[in-house]
């Protein structure tokens, strides 16, 4: 069953965003950490650089896609093959407590760090107690 997207719809034909790249896609491991004023998302994307990572936010969904170039020739003679090399992709739902306009991303040594700042109202606050 084809899923419709908001991107394109011709009569009688539903167009999905097509992947023009062949090869496998892998789901990266992530850590999600909550701090006082932000959520931190760390994703293992070995082989990815800043210019090969696409991060999109649309209607509450954050999508991470990293293009990874093959590192071995397709004719390589493997003696041991414990993992495959391919693109990474994963999506997350982002709640309303995140200020999406201030999301920042950086990548270093193949690890993507996404800073998802909380909106003011969601931050823990110290409430002063006035008393007699």
């Amino acid at each position: 069953m084809a899923t419709e997207t908001a991107i394109e719809k011709r009569e009688g034909q539903v167009v999905q965003p097509e992947r023009t790249r062949g090869g496998p896609t892998y789901r990266p491991n992530v850590d999600i950490i909550e701090k006082d004023d932000e959520l931190l998302l760390l994703a293992d994307l070995p082989g990815a650089r800043a210019d090969s990572i696409d991060i999109d936010y649309e209607r509450g969904e954050l999508s991470i896609y990293a293009r990874i170039e093959p590192r071995q020739s397709p004719k390589a003679i493997y003696l041991l093959r414990e993992y495959g090399v391919g693109d990474f992709h994963r999506t997350f739902r982002v709640g309303e407590a995140i200020d999406v306009n201030r999301i920042e991303a950086e990548v270093k040594n193949g690890v993507l760090t996404l800073h998802l700042p909380k909106v003011e109202a969601a931050r823990p606050k110290k409430i002063k107690v006035s008393g007699s």
Binding site: V30, E34, P46, Q72, L80, Y83, N109, G110, V111
Partner: protein, 146 residues
């Protein structure tokens, strides 16, 4: 009754032994921390061409100083440590990335020239290039006719 309880565990042990045997002389590393999972970390790929053996491992987040690569005889060792985030007030909602120390041993199928082994770390990918020892290279033998 006791015998029937043990049966499923026995079957699992046998399967595990069979899987270990499948890898033959290629050993698995020990994980110090269960967080890295029951499989060895890092996962390794090993391939060859006429003159070289290549090993590659995905070690995202590591710098060169977090890693040690040794080749002794035909045994390759990759040791390292992936630090966790420091700081207090950290609440994990999801934790899939392992932290801690790891060691992988690999018995190489051919001898390599350990003085000319090179290791490169780029974007979390470690690539080790090992020139095969002269005796291990394939040689084309010319056939002369009488």
């Amino acid at each position: 009754m006791l015998a029937r309880w043990n049966y499923p565990l026995e079957a699992f042990e046998e399967l595990r032994r069979e899987m270990d045997n499948l890898f033959g002389s290629l050993g698995r590393g020990f994980d110090r921390l269960p967080l890295f999972g029951p499989r060895g970390f890092p996962a390794l790929n090993l391939w060859e061409d006429g003159n070289h053996l290549y090993a590659e491992a995905e070690v995202p987040g590591l710098n060169m100083q977090d890693l040690e690569v040794h080749v002794v005889g035909n045994e390759l060792t990759i040791k390292g440590r992936r630090p966790g985030l420091d700081g207090k007030n950290l609440t994990y909602h999801r934790r899939e990335r392992g932290v801690g120390e790891f060691t992988r041993f690999l018995t190489l199928p051919v001898e390599v020239n350990q003085d000319r082994v090179e290791a490169v770390l780029k974007d979390g990918v470690l690539t080790i290039t090992m020139p095969k020892a002269e005796s291990a290279k394939a040689r084309k033998i010319t056939v002369r006719s009488q």
